[in-house]
């Protein structure tokens, strides 16, 4: 059987001519881009033998937004808003992943308070992303109610984001040089109130799923690939941790003062859909631990780096100091200049290793921004994960991969 090609005519009825007597015909099924469980606009061309998948090839690009190219036309600070639109479930992680290499090029020292707020918010956004994953994954498996339960908590998280940044989804709260705004009055109460009741909610989810025989039947032993293969394909994040490799950039290459926090990396050995479920559930609990530490030990101080050429001056200073006014004018009209060079700083996004490779030519606009996105890396494994499996398994596997199409296509 030859491999099917990525062409738009793959939707034609049966594949390859008339069958010989006594053989079964294979069916080409075009799953997506409009399909309830391809999580956006992924198109998968499945070749089916009955309900068994002979081969699967993903067709991406339906959500292409040209963010990578667009970034070259905007100033460094403006690019932050673009990163929000890539992976719309964990935009704070994107903001952070973009700011880190730019700050590295600028050699900025980020104040402790800003770093801690960054950690706290990215962990909350990790919980947010895992909640959405859990809801949609269970929806794929037919457990509809879970979706509404997780979205109840997600609503609280979005309220927290709105409280901090004025935006629910496109926060752009983490900026080059620090944060966009001082955390608003009352944030401590809001966040601690949310974090306090969350463990009970996660217990509720686990009570519905972890020991549920149907759920276990659907997920155990499903979507397995050997660890070596996963490594070859560049799979990161919960998918690789569920296969037994404790690879977490927060531990291996700490950024934004993650080294000061005490947390574990949940690891499972089985490498199947169920293991990924367990890893993500445990990760939510670990994130709660990190947020609690942030709440307990949040340092005081400025939220922006002491770099007048990069960070906008205070409004008050502009009225009294000539330099402040000049810098303000320069930054607003032209943007700040970044020394020529290139930098890459990976972060651990909810989906895996996320990194922005930023090349600067000394102007105020990046020469090139390349995104190493976890969704794209994890999607590499799709064809191999699907081969020889049933359609139902493929849906469970697809859900467990937890990709965001905006992150894949950029």
């Amino acid at each position: 059987m030859s491999e099917i090609e990525l062409n738009t005519n793959a939707a034609t009825l049966e594949s390859e001519g008339e069958p010989e007597a006594g053989t079964t015909r294979r069916m080409t099924l075009n799953m997506g881009p409009q399909h309830p469980s391809t999580h956006g606009v992924l198109r998968i061309i499945l070749e089916l033998d009955g309900e068994t998948i002979v081969s699967a090839s993903p067709d991406i690009g339906f959500l292409h937004t040209g963010i990578e190219k667009q970034a070259e036309a905007l100033t460094y600070q403006q690019v932050v808003t673009l990163t929000d639109r890539m992976d719309y479930l964990s935009n704070l992680a994107n903001n952070l992943a973009y700011c880190l290499p730019v700050e590295k090029l600028l050699q900025l020292e980020i104040p402790a308070r800003a770093q801690w707020v960054r950690v706290m918010l990215t962990e909350i956004s990790r919980i947010n992303s895992h909640l959405v994953w859990l809801g949609t994954h269970c929806l794929d498996l037919g457990a509809m109610t879970m979706f509404f339960y997780t979205f109840r908590e997600r609503e609280d998280i979005l309220r927290i984001f709105e409280f901090f940044s004025g935006q629910r989804l496109m926060t752009s709260y983490i900026r080059v040089g620090g944060l966009a705004l001082e955390p608003p009055r009352g944030w401590h109460k809001l966040v601690s109130g949310f974090i306090r009741q969350l463990p009970a909610k996660i217990d509720q989810y686990e009570g519905l799923l972890t020991e549920n025989p149907i759920f276990m039947q659907r997920t155990k032993g499903v979507g397995f690939l050997p660890v070596e293969r996963l490594l070859d394909l560049g799979v990161t994040g919960p998918m690789i941790r569920a296969a037994g490799i404790p690879w977490d950039i927060r531990k291996s290459e700490p950024y934004s003062s993650y080294e000061k926090f005490d947390f574990n990396i949940p690891v499972q050995q089985a490498g199947d859909v169920y293991a990924r479920f367990r890893v993500r559930m445990d990760e939510m609990r670990e994130s709660i631990k990190i947020v609690e530490q942030c709440l307990a030990g949040m340092p005081e101080g400025p939220i922006r780096a002491d770099a007048p050429k990069v960070v906008l001056p205070d409004r008050e200073k502009m009225k009294t100091q000539m330099e402040a006014l000049i810098y303000h004018f320069k930054i607003v009209t032209e943007g700040f200049r970044v020394p020529a060079g290139e930098a890459y700083v990976p972060v651990e996004s909810p989906r895996g290793e996320l990194g922005f490779y930023v090349v600067s030519d000394g102007t105020s606009k990046p020469a090139r921004v390349f995104m190493r996105t976890p969704s794209y890396g994890n999607l590499q494994a799709l064809s191999e994960l699907f081969e020889g499996k049933l359609i139902s398994d493929s849906i469970a596997t697809l859900g467990s991969m937890d990709f965001v199409l905006g992150d894949v296509d950029r």
Partner: protein, 399 residues
Amino acid sequence: MNFYILSLVKAGLVAFVLLTFCAYLVWIERKVLAHIQLRPGPYRVGPHGLLQPLSDLIKLVTKEGLIPGNVSTGLYLFAPFLAVALALVSIVTIPFGPEFEIFGVRTWLGLTDLNIGVLFILAMSSLGVYATAIGGWASNSKYALLGGLRSSAQMISYELPLALAIVAPILIANTLSFKELAEAQSGFYFGFLPKWHVFAAPFPQVFSFVIFVIAAFAETNRVPFDLPEAETELVAGFHTEYTSTMFAAFFTAEYANIVTICCVTTLLFLGGWHPPFPAEYGSSFIPVILLLGVAGLFFFHAGQTLKTRKWDRFSFPVGGVLSLGLAGLFLIPLLQPILVPFFWFAAKTLLLIFFFIWVRGTLPRFRYDQLMRFAWMFLFPVAVVNLLITAFAVALTSN
């Protein structure tokens, strides 16, 4: 002559009640599911969304009935008709209450009492497979084809444990007529334990009850066995391509099947219209007490309605008065022998339907092969063993 008029009246009544109930079953399902899922459910059309079924109907009927290209038109149109016809025909053998005499006419709640009523229902539900298989095949859509294949395999497989589970109580009651089956379950052991087949001597039919309910979930394509229309896998399964009235027909058939199968469960295992405890202990007054409680709730909430729901101040008292009126009906001696048995029948059936919806709100769905393995490797053997034990027990005690 009298017989024909009576039959016509009853047929009209049953058809009207069944179809209305099917429509409102959708409302009930959406409301119950919504409350499980922390949302209010239908709310805009009429008070508490009570007119939602009507608006759904208008919407479905007035939509364009699209026939996709390259479908097998005859079969494509025939499938939904077959589905709804079979689903509605099944209800004729179901008795809803015992015989009674009113205004000098002796009759009973129900259309016809076939002496092979149980077999008839089984036959009709087996034929229902054709509707989904044909519909899936004729649609010229891959999702529909896969859904049709899945559902034929599933329904044929689950027919076996279903039938075997039915045979056991039939052995005990020694009849195939639903009416006689229900009458066989009247009376009480030790004066309090009802002689329902779930508790029946010589061998309680708990196992066959559970098997029957599980198989019923599969027969009606409900979660966790809703693979034929697994939304996230096969879009909408066999009725993916259907629109308008044809879709409405499939939809009605699905809900009519749920009603029928819950009625059958009630009749076979839960004693039909017989109360759960004797009338000496006041079981006839349970409906009155319940309705009074409902009326009380209505009046209580009418006093403290929210500002955003102003008209509840009027709709709640109306509901309360209606409940009081119903409670009054249950106290009229002439109507009591009709209403009280019917109340018990309806209560048991509605509880089962609620269970169906509850399960839908809780469980994920099986995988196709797991579902088949479950039927053949687990349900079928258990049903056979249960049948053998029952047969043995009946043979021992019948002498």
